[in-house]
């Protein structure tokens, strides 16, 4: 018997029992729908959170002193001299930026707040992707003006809106700084850090008479991905040699490492929720098996008739298996639409950009096929084994 006929037969059978078909499928629809929705939302979220970082994730790393107890004894420090050394030595291979962290009382209009301040080199915004200028622009290279970048929350809090903050002054340690730009940070990477203001590093050194020109963190953007790991170790060695300290004095941290971690966390998270949704699929599969067993029983006479007129066991097996597969695939299809809709709705509500991640549909098709075979095989086998004489007499 050709597959085409069996297929048509299965569809007719399912159509004849519309309500039952639908009720049977609810489990599968919800299961597939949740898996699809979770995977799509997860992927959209991942792209949203780290998408822009992925671009140069493989070229950016941070270098700073290892602050664990053991290395503190070595009394090493980083300063502008080290920046100059690295810039000179790796001119053609990397851009080197630096930052110095401070904390000051800052007067915004009338109110005073204790704020973290990050003094950074002029190329900081090109090297690090931490800053996203929303209004205004980054200061010009070599500036000696007292300019400051403030974040969106502060700007809105004290000046009404980000746009209105530009041009106003704030007092840092009784010295006026003009607001040059308003930035947004990527909260996910920056989590916990309260670096609310950015000022030019050289200006900061001058104002606060920091003659030894200290630096807390060095940010390095390699010009290509190819020698990333090599440069990472070489730069540490160069610094260690120039200072006569052990290489373990320094630590490096690559954005790629962090992204890997974020990715892993997100994947584990998605996998856990998906497996919970998978339980619904399991329950759905059992429901399908149950209804197929009932169907085999109800159609015992039909099976007997078919066998009497020449159907082989494999014809009967094929008929019921295909019927189950049509059932679960249909459920999978509806579930996919359901999940797609849900994901679109959620991403819209969460103001995330929706990413259409098509492998999800392939995955759900595979899942429903597997469920179909698993839950259909036993009832189909049972049907195929029925004794024609007994089934013909079945009422």
């Amino acid at each position: 018997m050709q597959i085409k006929n069996t297929l048509r037969l299965a569809l007719e059978q399912l159509k004849a029992n519309k309500l039952r078909t639908f009720l049977t499928l609810i489990g599968i629809i919800i299961g597939v729908g949740s898996v699809v929705a979770i995977l799509l939302i997860g992927e959209s979220g991942r792209k949203d959170i780290i998408g822009e970082f992925e671009q140069d994730a493989n070229q950016l790393f941070y270098l700073h002193l290892d602050t664990s107890e053991q290395s503190k004894k070595q009394q090493a420090s980083l300063s502008w001299r080290d920046i100059s050394l690295l810039r000179e030595q790796y001119q053609s291979q990397a851009q080197v930026a630096a930052s110095y962290l401070d904390q000051k009382e800052v007067v915004f209009e009338q109110s005073t707040e204790k704020v973290d301040i990050t003094a950074v080199t002029d190329n900081y915004s090109q090297v690090s992707n931490m800053l996203d200028i929303a209004y205004g622009s980054f200061w010009e290279e070599g500036t000696n003006q007292n300019v400051v970048l403030i974040n969106e929350a502060l700007a809105e809090g004290y000046f009404g809106s980000a746009g209105q903050a530009i041009g106003h002054s704030v007092m840092i340690d009784r010295i006026p700084f003009t607001i040059q730009a308003v930035y947004t940070t990527n909260d996910f990477i920056q989590s916990g850090s309260q670096a609310n203001l950015y000022v030019p590093l050289q200006v900061w050194y001058k104002i606060h008479y920091l003659t030894d020109q200290p630096v807390h963190s060095i940010e390095i953007l390699t010009l290509s991905e190819n020698h990333f790991d090599q440069l990472r170790t070489e730069m540490v060695r160069t610094l260690a040699e120039s200072k006569g300290v052990a290489e373990s004095t320094f630590r490096t941290q690559a954005v790629a490492d962090q992204l890997d971690m974020v990715n892993n966390v997100l994947r584990i998270f998605t996998a856990i929720i998906s497996s919970v949704a998978g339980i619904s699929l399991l329950v759905g599969g059992i429901g399908v098996m149950n209804i197929m067993l009932v169907s085999v029983m109800e159609r015992t006479r039909e099976i007997g008739i078919r066998k009497a007129i020449g159907a082989k066991p494999r014809h009967i097996l094929q008929q019921f298996l295909i019927e189950t597969l049509v059932l679960t695939t249909l459920g999978g299809f509806i579930g996919c639409l359901f999940g797609l809709g849900m994901a679109m709705l959620v991403t819209q509500l969460a103001e995330m950009s929706f990413v259409f991640y098509w492998p999800v549909f392939l995955i759900s098709f595979c899942i429903t096929t597997i469920i179909g075979v698993l839950s259909g095989f036993y009832p189909a086998k049972k049907a195929a084994k029925l004794d024609p004489i007994v089934s013909l007499r079945y009422e």
Binding site: E12, A16, K307, I309, G310, P313, L392
Partner: protein, 229 residues
Amino acid sequence: MALIELKRITKQYITGEEKVDALKSVDLTIEEGEFTAIMGSSGSGKSTLLNILGCLDQPTSGEYWLNNEDVQHLNVNQLSDIRNQYLGFIFQSFHLLPRLNVWKNIELPMLYQNIRKQERKQRAKALAERMGLRERMQHMPSQLSGGQRQRVAIARALANRPKLLLADEPTGNLDSKTTIEIMDILQELNQSGVTIILVTHEDELIDYTKRTIILQDGIVIKDEKKQLA
């Protein structure tokens, strides 16, 4: 060579601790073109015999030759092929598939033999016409009278041009007028060369057949061929 040859066929059922001998050494030869009635009271073994003849059941011992094939040693799939190609069944309660229309019901045996759609359609149409069902091709079994349903069943039984028709009380659910109608059809089929075995307990049907076999307690007690008048 005979179409059917049964040699010392026995059938034993074991129900719990009791052994029931449904058939006790039955020898039977049926030639091509015969129209045989198998009669007997319930429990006489006639249904068991029909199941064995129809390759739906296997005898406990004995030999069964059908069209020169030793049915005894065939597997499930080969038996299915035999039923599909050599045999046609007609049942008391018609046994049509309720969800398929007349045409699809007639077509069914051909599906299991992978006959092409065009040929299937052609044969089904010819059979329906022969059974006077031309206007009923798209009807569902529930829309038909008993006699019409049985005619659909006969058309289906004939779909693969079988050598042997096995009719199990084909008129048991029909009124006397329809009974005559169906028996006329069977007789006509027999005259066109189809061998028919009819299981019944209605004496008046013997008028249509050429040979009568009476079973009692699993033994053939009477085997009578009619003299052609």
